[in-house]
Symmetry: C2
Subunit: 462 residues, 2 copies
Amino acid sequence: MRRDGTRIQTVMDEIRSRITARMYSPGARIPSVRAMAKAEQVSVSTVLEAYERLAAEGALTSRPGSGFYVAGPSAPLALTELGPKLDRAVDPLWISRQSLETSSDRLKPGCGWLPASWMYERGVRKALRSAARSETSTLTEYASPLGHLPLRQFLTRRLANFGIDAPFQNIMLTESGTHSIDLICRFFLEPGDTVLIDDPCYFNFQALLKAHRVNVIGVPYTKSGPCVESFGAALQAHSPRLYITNSGIHNPTGATLSPVTAHKLLKLADSTNLIIVEDDIFADFEHTPAPRLAAFDGLSRVIQIGSFSKTVSASARCGYIASREDWIEGLIDLKIATSFGGGRLAADIVYRTITDSGYRKHMEWIRTKLSSEMDKTLSALEAIGMKPWLHPKAGMYAWCQLPQAKDAAGIAKACLAHGVVLAPGNAFSQSMCAGDYLRFNVAQCADPRVYEVLQRAMDGPH
Amino acid sequence: MRRDGTRIQTVMDEIRSRITARMYSPGARIPSVRAMAKAEQVSVSTVLEAYERLAAEGALTSRPGSGFYVAGPSAPLALTELGPKLDRAVDPLWISRQSLETSSDRLKPGCGWLPASWMYERGVRKALRSAARSETSTLTEYASPLGHLPLRQFLTRRLANFGIDAPFQNIMLTESGTHSIDLICRFFLEPGDTVLIDDPCYFNFQALLKAHRVNVIGVPYTKSGPCVESFGAALQAHSPRLYITNSGIHNPTGATLSPVTAHKLLKLADSTNLIIVEDDIFADFEHTPAPRLAAFDGLSRVIQIGSFSKTVSASARCGYIASREDWIEGLIDLKIATSFGGGRLAADIVYRTITDSGYRKHMEWIRTKLSSEMDKTLSALEAIGMKPWLHPKAGMYAWCQLPQAKDAAGIAKACLAHGVVLAPGNAFSQSMCAGDYLRFNVAQCADPRVYEVLQRAMDGPH
């Protein structure tokens, strides 16, 4: 047992390092005293004392009735602390770096994509051969500002299937889904603005928003979408400029939005100038489409973005933004200024691949395979004591709780040393309230070593 | 002749519209009274009166001895005014939009790239066929955080030829040269920081920096590089964080940096914490390499960036950043947060193309062809009264002055109506002092219609 003084120091050090790492940017509100006490498993009075000492030092400022905020500016922008790869802190970029960096002999149940062997490789090869015979301009020239017309026309038809009316003039291609969100943030946000995200949500939303120096508020995610009460309260309290969410299948929970939640959210947003960004990258994994906010709203305050990285190729990357026409015009300028006309070849390859007759069949196979892997993975995880939050209807993610409130970050570090990359819950959680959760990618969980290494780590000192 | 009151109104309207269009962002210093008087061809007292009325309205603030600044914030971020395509104002994005948007039957002496028929098309086709046979991961998986290793190793060797010691661990691939600069700006700059650019310089530097909400100071460019005295004075007066410049062949002037200027610049920077970004995208066009700041400096305060869009393909785009190792680590995080691991296929295609035995020969052919087109274009332009600023040693750009201080923006608009896209000088000039210059791309000037349409426009009312 640590003495109280040590505990206070520990909390202070933790907050300081998060500020240094820009996990909390200047002006941002830090977790409430209660949330921090829960996350760090210390008493409320310990956290309060730590916060007040930091305020006395000038690292935090306190606003009565509102909470504690990070003081002053610092530079240069560091999204995380530097450090040796295996030792780096488990922050929102930890999973990305580990998944992208580790060699292919590692097992990656924590990563966010399908194994290469599942991808529609035959289609991509065919597309490349066919691109090799295309006209010169396709091979060497810049893309037009909106991007490859046939792909935009394809997207218009595809969006129509989800009830979204998006003429191809209102669709701009980008380098990726992440690039789409980044452009939208740059277009609408000023430093210090407030953005709502789901809690938990895709960890890279947090990393991205840190780069925008904005204030981020998490809205608890329920089994049928964001908690409507919390969403309404956040609208009232913070006048957020953006809300960024997944449509279709939610990352990391695998939950889907219900029509009633969708309707209520948009009704709450009615009297505000909130803009909603709906990230639709998992659309092709759904058996039956969940409701889309963009369909309910008619692309008035909702912007839909997506990409093909999850189903076609993350090597030939291409994303899109479907939005109101007046916003598209400004987004084009911003895209040119910050990346010029890019990704023409990738858009061409993606278009050739998804319009190939085999693609639809391949996706049918993927959906079926994901269903059976979901069942197998959940059974195997339950067998070693993990508790699934829900049984997802579709997709590749399973969100599972460790037994006895074990520390997922510690377990993830232990497993990494044995060649298994996991995705610990707090990397997804703004409030750091998912410390005993892990996200599993069921498509990456077939190897029994995943469960062996995990079990050993769970039996360890964490 | 307009009355004085009308002239004052005109200047006020002009400044207001530039503020609305975010050409001048909040907090930015607007052109000096003298520069504006010269650009608008009105008297100094007219401009002074206009500025003071705007200050009275609250649109500007005046700082005695320093000049006039844009007041308060506005939102959302608009890099330019919206408007019909042909009518839009000639701003730094005008040339990009016109060049990227217009159909291929237009003549584009103003655009910044080689005609598709000049590109190493055979090599790109071969690379695509060969990529179609590569391993699955190349086709479908995300890139590693630093990007394709063989291409980074190639860059290490290539940079060594310019005297730059850049181990491949210090090189990160990006989506494009523009993306490289954007990442660097996001990493180092806070809104309100000051950045130096050349005046004139590549117009997209200005558009990009506007998106970063920073204060931009132009340093006059001479025939041997930036004016050393102005550079020193700007360092003293503004403590800039970054200086962004071209190495090798300067865009738009075609001038090259002399060793003595390079040495003096770095000496001036010695006692400051200025970071210099050297954009090296025209390296392959040089017959004999000009000095590189990165070579003199040893990648200490200089970061070199580049891409292959000008010589290999603007469709399969790929750029790079060569920098100090401690900066690379933070840049990786920022790249993942804002675009995840992208562009793997493009990097693969580029690598296959440039290591193909035919590429070197093709570039030899390009350099020879550019030399002869440079001579022909300059002769043809001189024949209709244009005056070249200098005869460039290499590259595709010729920077030429119109006779009788004619207005390049007006002439560019007139020519656009006749299917010819020009690049008017003030789009390149921070101080708007190049209103009677045009940049010509000699590789796009073979068609005699270019000179016919230009001559007709010059004889018109401008």
